[in-house]
Amino acid sequence: MTKSREDHDAGRRRFLKGMGIAGAGAAIADHLWTEVEAEEATATPETLSGSVKVVLDVNGKQREAQVEPRTTLLNTLRNHLDPAVTGPKLVCDVGTCGACTVLLDGKPVYSCLVLAVDATNKKITTVEGLGTPENPNAVQAAFVEQDALMCGFCTPGFVTTISAYLKKNPNPSLAEVKEACKGNFCRCGTYPRVFDAALAAAKSTGA
């Protein structure tokens, strides 16, 4: 499969170290190219087509799936893992609604705009990985308490986005919460209570 992120980063660190970080600033692309080409000119590009096996790290577990290069991460989670991971929802399928939000190495992304072949060796966290009905995380508990959901179809996306945001900013203002979840859309009209839940969750974690 794809080169692991670790290898990639390690390589980059080594390279930068060799260059001297202080001097790396001025030395723009040409220097980088020379180095990189010298190092890797002999490598053969990996090419995948047809049916391919991917191994995904989903909620801390290694999960295998047989997909095509065009299969999105969202579709893989929902339809190619067994048991399925159906918390992330397919709603707009073009990165405009947020219902499919998952965390990729801790950052919220739209899983409908990520290919499964491009998500290997990354940590994928879905709403299921954040908490359970018996043991919800602070955001999930606050969503219930504040009635921040109606039909609930947008809820996994909101919960995932806000859970990641509170790690980044544990004590947000209302305006910051709105900004953080502007990539998640709801149709029933739960927004005011989503904001309340995010602020309540921030408070409850004692941030």
């Binding site: 794809t2 080169k3 990639h8 390589g11 980059r12 390279f15 930068l16 790396a24 600033g25 001025a26 723009i28 692309a29 040409d30 980088l32 190219w33 180095e35 990189v36 080409e37 190092e39 890797e40 000119a41 490598a43 590009p45 990996e46 090419t47 995948l48 087509s49 391919v52 095509e68 290069p69 065009r70 999105t72 399928d93 073009v94 990165g95 405009t96 947020g98 939000t101 990729l104 950052k107 919220p108 992304v109 739209y110 705009l113 990520v114 290919l115 072949v117 491009d118 986005t161 945001y165 953080a180 502007k182 990539g183 859309f185």
Partner: protein
């Protein structure tokens, strides 16, 4: 999405080679993929149907931001969130951080890259509908010209009336940025104001000078007093998530007595390319930014506007943005 081959080159030359084999239709040629946040949407609506995606993310050295006295270099794979959150960028290139922040949503910015943002395809709804084969898809008509053209170009249009969707582009043009490109023919550096092409000049199927095997590797922004006094104002119909109905990227260098020594004004969302307005820039030189001067500058900036049936509102809207952006940049 049409089925494609996924390739993972480890260096830029391999990547270029993987992009070379080209099929008949330009929209079926191999494409490089970085964040994929625009490319995958065009593939989902079959606007593009590449036979191969060439993943750039395993190529080393394309994902860092460096800042020194000469200026800023941004690897093409730097994400929009990395750019907007970079302390040095925020301090010395505030307009660029603002432009990055104005893009789409946090989720998109976590994956979308700077290189990809410059290479976005148009958002014109005719272009994006699979069933509609417009001028930009090899058809014979720009349906927006006489159709629902509320969001289309008021300047520089014809025969296609798309607007360029990038928010970084107007700001980077204002800041005099260049891009490093590698292709089968070698490496070259392209000033960004020569990068984008009007439908009447370049290949109507594309929005820039890149050939199919070209890859943007880096964006270079020279350090300058202009950069420190830069701002980007974007108007969205829906604040949460929208492309610019109009935007203004402005950078100023001030002289003595609060007079303008040099100005850059580039309009976004109103033309098929980031639209620089030299006449307005020139008008400002030596003047204080009084309300009258701002109004006159805004007027000059839009003198070339030839609105279509449903987008005349973009003229006063863009004038407002120009005025406000100039006032804001001056106060930075």
């Amino acid at each position: 999405m049409k089925a494609f081959e996924w390739s993972n080159p480890a260096n830029i030359n391999e990547a270029v080679k993987m992009l070379l084999p080209s099929t008949g239709d330009v929209d079926e040629s191999p494409r490089p993929i970085a964040g994929g946040q625009d490319l995958l949407t065009t593939m989902k609506d079959y606007t593009s149907r590449p036979v191969r995606l060439v993943n750039l993310k395993n190529i080393r050295g394309l994902n860092s931001i460096t800042l020194n006295a000469k200026g800023l270099t941004i690897g093409a794979l730097v994400t929009l969130s990395e750019l907007e959150e970079h302390a040095g960028v925020r301090k010395s290139f505030p307009g660029l951080a603002e432009a990055a922040h104005s893009i789409a949503t946090p989720q998109i910015r976590n994956l979308g890259t700077v290189g990809g943002n410059l290479c976005q395809r148009p958002r014109c709804w005719y272009f994006r509908l699979e069933e509609v084969i417009c001028l930009k898809k090899g058809g014979s008509e720009c349906y927006a010209a006489s159709g629902e053209n509320k969001y289309n170009a008021i300047i520089g249009g014809g025969p296609s009336y798309i607007v360029h969707p990038s928010d970084l582009a107007p700001m980077l043009v204002a800041l005099g940025a260049t891009v490093n490109v590698t292709g089968a023919a070698g490496k070259r550096v392209i000033p960004l104001d020569k990068f984008f092409t009007l439908p009447s000049e370049g290949n109507i199927r594309r929005e820039n000078v890149l050939k199919n095997d070209d890859i943007i590797t880096q964006i270079n922004v020279p350090a300058s007093a202009l950069a420190a006094k830069s701002t980007y104002l974007k108007f969205k119909e829906r604040e949460s998530l929208d492309f610019a109905l109009a935007s203004a990227a402005v950078a100023l260098r001030m002289g003595p007595n609060e007079a303008v020594r040099e100005a850059r004004i580039v309009l976004g969302g109103v033309a098929p390319i980031p639209w620089r307005v030299p006449a307005a820039e020139k008008f400002l030189v030596g003047k204080k930014l009084t309300p009258d001067v701002l109004a006159e500058t805004a007027k000059i900036a839009l003198t070339e506007a030839k609105p279509l049936e449903k987008n005349a509102y973009k003229v006063p809207l863009t004038q407002t943005l120009v005025r406000r952006a100039l006032a804001k940049a001056a106060s930075v």
